[in-house]
Subunit: 362 residues, 2 copies
């Protein structure tokens, strides 16, 4: 079975690494030559809309994506010629914050107050509706904290509008949360679902820094609630594959922040930390295979290497450390790799996290 | 860092899958086009002695092998131009049963009585020295039970000579063992060692069928003894990389049967069943990186798929099953893939083994 993948970054690379043992073959499409997946799979280097490239992709048994910001027309064209999972509908909702938030609301999933902003007048009325503080965000193409502006005062509103105005925007109430969590969920072609334990995420400068899984002091009722939210989304979207739900913990309530229609950085710990990795379960789902267990094997953490890779020998010198080097050239704010840390106990894991954090010191 | 690998079969494929996360790149040499590793790495299709191909391999930072029966000249030539691990010395011992047995004897490692056989007269004197029953084996190039003949009577001796005569041979006393075990050992460039728990192996028609790890009812003293044997071999051979020691359990004694100077089929369970896989630890060793833990995560089994692959959906329908399809064309007696089974307890593992064995029924 051959799997076409839109995007050939590290997510694609890890999909291929998980898929070869299943006997799958891969064809990646990505305009950037030398992308991480290209070291180990067929990589068509072409613009997203290139007709010949899309013909090659359409020859795959199924097409999926590791990068959701591809042109809608690309996905729609492929969907007329082969199976695309998750489908265009899921993609359309996930890539537009307004559709996403509206879906949360319609499904009864708690989320921050929000309002669409299409022009400067719209911003003023949205601010009076949502209140301050608030966050102005682009509806599409935001990632790693890009395309966001916090508004605490009228002056901030002007600055935010100057920075982001002229494209479809969304204003959201600023949520003061105790922590950020994410749920990696997967749904098979036959509608079977699996949910990984909630992950606790820390960001630095808008980029995921450290994930702990399962989240510390995890209340089983909270896990159940998160799974109920995700199940409703998966079913509403007739979703096939891995879906990531990002959540804010506010007191005892979970506020849905956004969804990613793909494998996710906060799920990288599953490669060593869960019975079946998010990458393998995504492929099992889109290829019509039975899903694997999403249970955690033990306390696990994932630390991102951003902008700079520490020497492999130092990373591997930590007991229970598993290195993932994406083979990318270093650049500021670029995710170059990560390390997974497996602990014998929560305390042992914290000691390993401390060791790994020391690698980031200059 | 770029790793050259002689041989591009499933062992090479699994080396590459373990090595990409470490940031390694690979170049394989194998005369057979379409070999399993070729789907995911650079593969030079050329005879072992091809000058241009060897120049390509010599450009790698280190060269290793997943197939030890390459011409000695190939290895020696490469060793003059780059680092080869394990070295030509280890290879020379491991690929010749006489050298191997002699090394066991010199190191005080129990092994079956043996005698070299160079001609028909030599067979007669070897038989009188070793006694009956015995096994006549080719000194080199034997694998999966090929090149072996059991001798229980004078008539068998004639048949064995007709089948194997004309090449360097070895006669060994036939060992009646209670079970076959193997030890996967690894030694780093700095001389650090790690040993996986003993594996219990069952063969069918001379081909590995089922491995259980750790071996059932494993006596810690036996594990220690096996590690002592392996450590002596590793040190004698100044070995760098994974070495597999095959053993027969005879009463309370472990008889060394043979060594393989490479990752081994009986170590495939380590991908999911151990903290660090044999493939990753081999690469860590040959690349000068610190070794990872060789501890088992729990009771694990590995079942080979020989000649026929069951449907992926059926394999993955078993809870805790991990499929490895090597992407090979089916052929009688050919290893096409394997499944790793992870059990919550020894009893749970046996139930899963029974489920997996049912997949092999016609």
């Amino acid at each position: 079975m051959k799997v076409g993948v839109l995007g050939a970054g590290q997510l694609g690379r890890m999909l291929a690494l998980a898929g070869y043992p299943l006997g799958l073959r891969f064809c990646f499409l990505d305009p950037a030559a030398g992308s991480p997946a290209s070291a180990l799979a067929e990589h068509v280097v072409a613009p997203w809309g290139d007709a010949q490239a899309l013909t090659q992709l359409a020859e795959c048994d199924v097409v999926t994506f590791e990068f959701e910001n591809v042109p809608v027309e690309t996905v729609e064209m492929l969907a007329t010629r082969t199976q695309v999972c998750p489908g265009a509908k899921a993609l359309a909702v996930a890539r537009d914050r307004l559709h996403e938030k509206t879906a949360f609301q319609e499904l009864g999933i708690p989320t921050a107050k929000f309002a669409a902003v299409d022009d400067a007048a719209g911003l003023a009325s949205a601010l009076s509706e949502v209140g301050l503080p608030a966050v102005l965000k682009t509806r599409c193409f935001g990632y790693d904290g890009k395309g966001q502006h916090v508004i605490r005062s009228a002056a901030d509103a002007d600055a935010a509008w100057r920075a982001l105005g002229g494209q479809p925007l969304l204003l959201e109430a600023f949520v003061t949360f105790s922590r950020e969590l994410s749920l990696i969920a997967v749904r098979s072609r036959s509608g079977d679902t699996r949910f990984y334990p909630l992950v606790e995420n820390e960001h630095r400068e808008g980029i995921l820094h450290l994930s702990r899984a399962p989240a510390r002091n995890l209340d089983p009722a909270q896990q159940t609630r998160a799974e109920e939210h995700a199940r409703r989304l998966l079913e509403r979207l007739s979703y096939v594959g891995v879906l990531t739900l990002e959540l804010f913990e506010v007191g005892g309530t979970l506020f849905a922040n956004e969804i990613a229609p793909r494998v996710h950085n906060s799920g990288h710990w599953t490669i060593e930390g869960a019975e079946t990795s998010q990458f393998e379960n995504h492929l099992r789902a889109v290829c019509g295979l039975p899903l694997g267990s999403a249970s955690a094997r033990g306390p696990t953490a994932m630390l991102n290497f951003v902008g700079h890779m520490p020497p492999a020998a130092r990373v591997l010198g930590i007991a229970g450390a598993h290195l993932h080097d994406y083979g990318k050239l270093p650049r500021a704010r670029r995710k170059l790799g990560h390390v997974t840390l497996c602990g014998a106990s929560p305390a042992d894991l914290e000691a390993k996290i401390a060791e790994a954090l020391a690698l980031l010191e200059p």
